[in-house]
């Protein structure tokens, strides 16, 4: 049984079909990266998976159980196991770093405050933000905010982590600190679905890479296949264009 299984998933933005039948599965602890041109549906796939853009068709199974995106209870269960990190961090502006990371464990998962804050502090240490626990998001650089956002996502102890272009909004010299943080997670057994334009990073970190175009996956395989010997012409075009830069 796959940890995450997506079958023929479709989703629309303002009546515009963006996902046109995506089928993808991932085993526990696998890192699957989505690459492809802008507008190919990569981010929408992540948003659909976590129910921000509810799928219009298709099925998603987590741990063998079907997710019902129209049921609040099912969504709640899903979001208890799955977390997302956004391109724009989306940290709560009215809370300190520590509060951002500990609020969901305390208020939503009803863990004890001391426990949750202890874990939050150790997560902040892990992402290299230990000294900033009392700062507000707006006092931090983009890279720092993104590392806090990763800590916040991990604080709910997700089994599946979605990373939506987490380095795209960052200054180039800030990219590596975030990528290093993600590298540190791969050994933790968390299943990760990553949307990224950092091809060297994708190649290094992924167990498999999926090439998306026009709302569909056109090719999926290990990084060596996608980057060195793509079978599809569309993949070849995209990869050669990207790698030339």
């Amino acid at each position: 049984m796959h940890h995450l299984e997506i079958k023929d998933l479709c989703a629309s933005y303002d009546k515009d079909p963006v996902l046109k039948g995506v089928t993808l599965s991932s085993d526990k602890g696998e890192v699957v990266s989505l690459i492809g041109p802008s507008g190919s549906g990569k981010s929408t796939l992540l948003r659909a998976l976590i129910g921000l853009t509810p799928p219009s068709k298709g099925q998603v199974f987590v741990g063998g159980e079907a997710v019902d995106y129209s049921s609040r209870r099912s969504l709640r269960a899903l979001r208890g196991e799955m977390a997302i990190v956004f391109q724009q961090y989306n940290l709560f502006q009215n809370m300190t770093v520590l509060r951002n990371v500990s609020i969901a464990p305390i208020k939503i998962q009803k863990r004890s405050r001391s426990d949750a804050e202890k874990e939050a502090k150790s997560l902040l240490e892990k992402v290299g933000m230990a000294g900033k626990q009392d700062a507000y998001p707006e006092e931090l650089s983009g890279g720092q905010q993104q590392r806090v956002a990763i800590a916040r996502a991990l604080a709910t102890r997700p089994e599946i982590l979605l990373l939506d272009e987490v380095t795209s909004a960052l200054d180039p010299e800030r990219v590596n600190e975030v990528l290093d943080t993600i590298r540190g997670l791969t050994s933790a057994g968390i299943t990760m679905i990553i949307v990224s334009h950092e091809m060297a990073f994708v190649r290094e970190i992924s167990t498999r890479v999926a090439m998306m175009d026009d709302g569909k996956i056109v090719e999926i395989g290990p990084p060596s296949q996608i980057f060195d010997a793509p079978e599809q012409r569309r993949t070849r075009d995209f990869v050669s264009k990207i790698l030339k830069h």
């Binding site: 921000l52 979001r79 977390a83 709560f92 609020i103 208020k107």
Partner: protein
């Protein structure tokens, strides 16, 4: 004229008149504070209702929109008369102060709901998405994420509205509520100089609204820096 003021002042500022003015001031303040507090509560309710996208709430939303759009366009004096003529036969014996306060509630609900709505809308959509994916309920999202971030947009115009409304409650004198303006009229009718009578009333209005303006300026500064 100046001589008349000096002559009348000791007579005017007697114990009886001062208590009378203080009571009137209390009614003006009472109508404003009770009316705007209730208005803030219902305004918040309406603002939240209008933001929700639940289809089951659609009819309620339509009523709320119709209410807000209507009451923002009716002069306060007309609301006072409508409330008077609706409440009188239904609940005879209701005090004029009560009727005026209900009118303030009706109007302030409409205005404050718009102020609060623009505050809620100032919070970026991404903040809500972050909260939703962390399993916040709608109420948790409202009280922990959205409202704390919208105060700085809500507080300045809301206090400006309340300060302005202190003045507008003078229209309740048309109903016979003995608030500041009516008290001024009564004192002048008793033979005191209008300059003295209304001069004191002017000072009372200032004494009510100035501290609130200062408070608003202070809050604005504090909220802006956080």
């Amino acid at each position: 004229m100046f001589e008349r003021l000096v002559e009348e002042a000791p007579l005017f500022f007697n114990y009886h008149n001062l208590v009378f003015i203080a009571q009137a001031m209390g009614r003006t303040l009472g109508m404003t504070v009770i009316g705007c507090s209730v208005g803030f509560f219902f305004g918040l309710l309406i603002a939240v209702l209008r933001q929700s996208s639940m289809t089951a709430l659609m009819p309620l939303r339509a009523v709320a929109i119709a209410y807000v759009e209507t009451f923002r366009r009716i002069p306060f004096l007309i609301i006072l008369f409508i409330v008077l003529f609706v409440i009188e036969p239904l609940m005879p014996g209701t005090s004029l102060f009560g009727i005026a306060t209900v009118s303030v509630c009706l109007l302030s609900t409409a205005f404050l709901s718009e102020i609060i709505r623009s505050g809620l809308e100032s919070v970026p959509q991404q903040q809500m998405e972050g909260a939703r994916t962390l399993n916040f309920s709608a109420l948790q999202m409202l009280f922990m994420v959205v409202l704390p971030q919208s105060w700085k947009v809500i507080v300045p115009p809301a206090t400006a509205f309340v300060v302005m409304f202190i003045k507008d409650t003078s229209l309740a004198s048309q109903l016979g509520v003995i608030e500041l303006t009516f008290a001024g009229k009564m004192l002048v009718n008793r033979g005191f100089s209008p300059v003295l009578g209304f001069g004191v009333i002017l000072f009372c209005y200032f004494a009510l609204s100035y501290p609130l303006s200062r408070l608003s300026a202070y809050l604005e500064k504090r909220l802006a820096s956080s």
